[in-house]
């Protein structure tokens, strides 16, 4: 039986492995980090049902136990060899694979690139990722009994100057989730979400929004934050336009949470070059067709799943991973 190599051990790679195991294959997962789980392993709860992220990860880990997993390992080369792909790992192992699945995911936008928001400049400006780590029980001295918290949507997303035209899809709902979580922890705090438009496309996301408004009193202000400054007592002065009233607006907050978006994972660019895969304008891997062949690359035997082809939610990624497993199965069956 031919080998199947899955590059990336996040939720996409793990779910694909789970399905391939169910189809009778023994896939090989190569994960560069020291543990499986990818980004999701460091999230606290997942919208809109507040599912603990650790539940998803531990379930996947348990179910893929029979797969061959290399953690702390990178693929350093990939080349076509007759009908197969020859891969070399940085631990010296070489694998001849009948099919390769790129489940290489995304990177979180580096919020310090948007200097006007002051991440890395002012202490109390944090990112969605920092807040998620704190919610998971991590320590963060920047957060202490806030009276007001601001959330800035679309940081690094829908921003041509930051090099990203794409919408990151998950941040609107994540901001609402985190706003509710902060309101639960600090019921007296005022919470302001600064948005351009709210993109709540998924099942139950809109209910989640109504919930935040009605039951938690979260304030939604339509206007992108233009600049942030620090006050003499270390709070943050936020400026935006209240576009619904057409007037400039300012407010002081104790923490400002930047909703950093999803950007392409450039750490795989060398591999992508070696495999001669097409890259899209947004830097993500280009599918053969964005409707019918999302999981197929321009090279036979190389498949995609998850956020390597564009921004995706966890359930979308899981669905793609399942479909990719089936595509690989069909490909190997039919030669």
């Amino acid at each position: 039986m031919k080998n199947i190599v899955i590059i990336g051990g996040g939720v996409a790679g793990m779910e694909a492995a789970r399905q391939l195991l169910a189809l009778g294959y023994t896939p090989i997962i190569v994960e560069k980090a020291n543990a499986l789980g990818g980004h999701v392993a460091s999230w606290y709860r997942l919208f809109p049902d507040m599912t603990p992220a650790s539940e998803i990860i531990s379930r996947l880990k348990k179910e893929i136990a029979p797969a061959n997993v290399f953690t702390g390992t990178k693929v350093i080369s990939i080349s076509r060899e007759k009908g197969d792909y020859s891969l070399t790992l940085d631990n010296g192992v070489s694998i001849l694979a009948g099919a390769v699945l790129f489940a290489t995911g995304f990177k979180v936008f580096d919020a310090s690139k948007k200097e006007e928001y002051g991440y890395g400049v002012y202490d109390r400006v944090i990112t969605n990722r920092d807040l998620e780590a704190w919610l998971s029980g991590g320590e963060d001295k920047r957060i202490s009994a806030p009276k007001a918290i601001g959330f800035v949507h679309c940081v690094g997303s829908r921003d041509l100057k930051a090099g990203n035209s794409q919408c990151s899809k998950v941040c609107c709902t994540t901001a609402i989730k985190q706003a509710i979580e902060m309101k639960e922890k600090f019921p007296k705090a005022e919470i302001y979400c600064f948005y351009m438009d709210l993109r709540l496309f998924g099942k139950k996301y809109e209910d989640f929004y109504i919930n935040a408004q009605r039951d938690f009193g979260v304030h939604f202000i339509r206007g992108r934050v233009s600049e942030v400054g620090e006050t003499i007592d270390g709070r943050l002065q936020v400026k935006a336009e209240d576009t619904l009233s057409g007037k400039p607006l300012k407010v002081q907050v104790d923490n400002l949470v930047l909703m950093s978006g999803m950007v392409c994972n450039q750490s795989v660019s060398e591999l992508v070059r070696q495999a001669r895969l097409d890259i899209d304008d947004d830097g993500f891997l280009r599918s053969r067709n964005n409707i019918f062949d999302i999981l197929e690359s321009n090279r036979p035997g190389i498949f995609y799943a998850g956020a390597c082809t564009g921004t995706k939610t966890v359930p979308e990624t899981l669905a793609e991973a399942r479909a990719a497993a089936l595509e690989i199965h069909n490909y190997l069956q039919n030669g």
């Binding site: 709210l198 408004q213 009605r214 939604f220 619904l244 407010v251």
Partner: protein
């Protein structure tokens, strides 16, 4: 006062730290739906008074959130209730207007 040939303009900036939202907070208790407004504007678009005098229920709710006096605008309302019929979030805007009137009475 001496005329120096220039004047000082008042800043139009909305300062949320100095916004008095007492009226809005009271209305949130009598008409809790008000919080679910998403500023879509269907109320204003259907308003029979709007084309003639600038009445806008969307702006009334926003003004309440920003601590501004809504009485001048509300004086133009004829209580026809069309705004309530079109609100996709089911906010009883007509009742809200009556609650505002009751508050100021």
């Amino acid at each position: 006062m001496a005329d120096f040939g220039f004047k000082l303009s008042k800043s139009s900036t909305l300062d949320l730290d100095r916004t008095d939202t007492r009226v809005y907070d009271i209305l949130c208790k009598t008409d809790p739906d008000i919080r679910t407004c998403m500023a879509c504007g269907s109320c204003s678009a259907s308003c029979t008074a709007a084309p003639f005098c600038g009445m806008s229920m969307r702006k009334v709710i926003l003004a309440l959130q920003r601590g501004q006096d809504v009485r001048p605008m509300l004086g133009k309302c004829m209580l026809c209730g069309k705004c309530t019929m079109v609100c996709p979030r089911g906010i009883n805007t007509r009742h809200l207007i009556l609650s505002i009137c009751k508050y100021y009475d």
